[in-house]
């Protein structure tokens, strides 16, 4: 179980990487999450989580070009690995199963979409 379990923030981060495609590096991921989730995320949190996900094998990374705007440093561009995709899928399915078990009558908001 432990191997595939994703934390909420990890899940969002993986989704952001997937959405950004070729442009998924630290700063861009931070901005994507800030925009979509509307919450403040620090750069260090993104870096720590991304690197941990890389260690777990959910992300793969390669270095891009050096640029002066980055003080001569390379971009580390992430991509969701196959394990990552499985984990996302598993998380999504888990949610779907749980949602389906909710009877519409017990809910105030409209569940039909």
């Amino acid at each position: 179980m432990k191997g595939t379990h994703l934390g909420e923030f990890e899940e969002i981060l993986l989704l952001a990487v997937a959405a950004l495609q070729e442009e998924a590096y630290g700063l861009a991921i931070m901005k994507e999450i800030t925009e979509q989730a509307g919450r403040k995320v620090t750069l260090s949190a993104v870096h720590a989580a991304a690197n941990r996900l890389e260690e777990k094998g959910f992300l793969k990374a390669e270095f891009g070009e050096k640029s002066a705007r980055r003080g001569g440093k390379r971009k580390k561009i992430y991509r969701v690995s196959l394990e990552g995709q499985y984990a996302l899928r598993a998380a999504f399915e888990l949610r779907q199963r749980m949602w389906q078990r909710i009877s519409p009558s017990s809910f105030q908001i409209d569940l039909s979409w």
């Binding site: 590096y25 700063l27 620090t42 260090s44 949190a45 941990r52 705007r69 440093k73 971009k75 580390k76």
Partner: protein, 891 residues
Amino acid sequence: MVEDPKYYEPPRRLLRLLRWFCAEHFLDEVEGDLWELFQEEVERYGEARARRRFYGLTVRYFRPYFFDRNHLSFQTIITPDMIRHFFKLAFRQLRRQRLYALINISGFALGLAACILIGLFLNHELSYDNFFEGEKNLYRVTISFDVEGRNGHSAVMSTPVARRMQEDIPEVLHAARLAPGMYDAGTNQVRRPNELENRYEDGFTYADSAFLTMFDFPLIEGNRAHQLRDPYTMLLTERKAKALFGSENPVGQQLVLNNSEDNAYTITGVLADLPSNTHFQFDYVLAMSSNEASKQDNWGYNNFLTYAELAPGTDPEVVEGKIKDMFMANHDNFRSMMEAGNRIEPVLQPIRDVHLHSSDIGGYWQHGNFQYIYLFGGVALFILLLAGINFVNLSTARSSLRALETGMRRVLGSMWRQLMAQFLVESVLLSFLALMLAVLLATAVLPFFNELIGRDLQLPWTDPRWYLLIFGSALGLGLLVGAYPAVFLSGYEPLKVLKGYLRSGRSASRFRSQLVVFQFTVAVALVAGSLVVREQLNYLQHQNLGFDKEQLLIVEGTYILDQPEVFREQLQQVPAVRSVSMSGYVPVEGYFRNGVSTWRTGSTDESEHVPLEKWYIDQEYLSTLGMEFVAGRDFSREFLTDSAAIILNEQAVKELGLKEPVGTRISSYTYMDPQTGEIYHEDYTVIGVVKDFHFESLRSDIQGLSLALGGGAINTLVRLSTEEVERGIEAVEAVWSDLAPGQPFRYQFLDEQYQRMYAFEQKAGSVMSVLTGLAIFVACLGLFALATFIAQQRQHEVGIRKVLGASTSEIVILLTKHFVLLVLIAILLATPLAWWLSNNWLADFAYRIDVQWWVFVVAGGLALLLAVFTMSYQAVRSAWMNPVDTIRLGE
């Protein structure tokens, strides 16, 4: 070519910090993203704000996940086991090197104990008046002046200043006057209306009702809003309430002051006892409205300490300017003095500065002096520094003994950092042991210290900051003194050490010598300084004052007698009494003083009017005090015309510019009619000139003085014959209790009162002497240990020299001459330093000694003697050792 767009560089120091703690494999990504983010933030917020934000961004990386484990992580390199191991080693070192441990610990302990006690004292001194609500807006109004070559600073204001400030200056929220020492607020006979026996009490002051609004002294009984409004109401402190009323509630009760039953004061409230850290000193507060003189708008009647509360955020300088305008508009004398080109400035003194920054302001209450704050604090730190130097010197000197250990450890894989940690643990352990000793020492010595400085200080055991402070300083001390030896010891090249190439480096030994020179420079300068202080105090006590202060009894408060003349006559019958005089003016601080404008009769030129002290005395005053005449004669009961006669001192003659003083007519101001503004004065004929005598502390010059008949029997001065002082006092008291039954007999000796003027310097002098003793002791401790070590190291050499025929004295010289040279250099350096410092201190005194050369000879000689004595013990011991033992030991 496309020109490179300009990029903003993030704060370089933060990047360097990041590179230091952050692991290599994160750096490209983290640093790059941070750069990029910084560019965007500069564009969005501007560079300054972006730089501030960058700090927060970077610091967030300071968490274990990003750390460079090879280089930072203590968990893996320094394990708890290892720390336990370090402690074990440190204790072993202490046990094995008992002498050195003892010297280091006792040096540190003495230094720390001195710092704790002095720190306690300084903390108390600096905390004066910091507890009032809104103390930042509270000020005392003072005047700094420079008038006709006389400059000074005064805290007494005239009657209307407080009221006008409050009415005319919008920034002044409240202003209140305090008047200790006048009318009913002098020293008093106190009793309850139904009692007969009086008690003698002091600590009275008048106060305006706004005083308690401004200064939130806690009120134990009574309603704050209604205090001090009605005439003849008063407050007193809790301890006085207990003493006078026991367990009764004093509110509503009355007190009779000086037997005037018609004007008994009704108590309306009880104040908590004043804390020790306030410059206010009173036990009884009387409503200002009971004092008629306080109600008249007399701009020349300077008797009121005046305090002001400004609106929050007001610049005091603005208010100072407005006070000046107020003086210009209302105070004629002020205006004419300003127009004559004199400088007079109102100064608002923050309430917290009153205690330490009033040494130039005369006043009713004794204050501290900030110079001594620096002096004591500095000296205490120096003692600690000297102890620290001992540690550094001993550790580096003995490093060769541990070099082998260090080399071995390195070969076995110990890292530089671990070695550093090991040595630092040793020094920190040492400083903590010293701390414990120091706290014990400070606790034991505190009562004596309190007595010495006249305070009642306690170690703040209940204050968490105190623990933080002492543990923090012990840790800091340990790390600080341990740093150099640790670097030094752990820096040995392991291979060289193990191969035996060790030379205890030339540069290290030179550094050691420099430190010894520094220690002795400090010690010699302190000794010389203390000697100068002692000499000056001695000089003050034996200075010819112009009168005879010995065996002169001052019976205070004789104005309560119905017939003072009977008292005088009866005293003159007492065989032990040589002569008797009655006057409120005594030539020592703490008695009546005034300043009365005086001029040659007929002179209308305002600039020829000079302020003179005007004392009212009787015909026996000058002969009783033993003052000398330069010209003319004393007052005499045979001349009835003497009621219009006046005697001047030499300074007054000079200030008035009189050529032939005797026979000249002079006038002196008496009072101004508040309605008409007319100035009344009295005319006198000068009948004599008395030689200048000192009637104030020798810190100030002798001022112009005029003496006239009158004034009544405020105090009675009794000259006793030398042989019968004890019996004389008894006889005088017997006469007193006969004439004034039920009244306490209060007396002072003039010479004791005189000593009291220098009480503060006396205390400071004693504290300095003790600190000096400690400093020189610590310096000698270090020298002793160094000498011991050197003697041990060279015992082989000494043995061989002895075999070859060297005498004991030659060997002693051999072992001590280097250090003697160092001490001589120190004396050379200390002499100009101490000379400069002493002259700075002496500059405060108008009457002072010149710094004598012998002071430096004595200080230097003492240091040299102590140094030689300290070293000789070891030197002689090794010179007397049997060479067979020492040489064989060396094999």
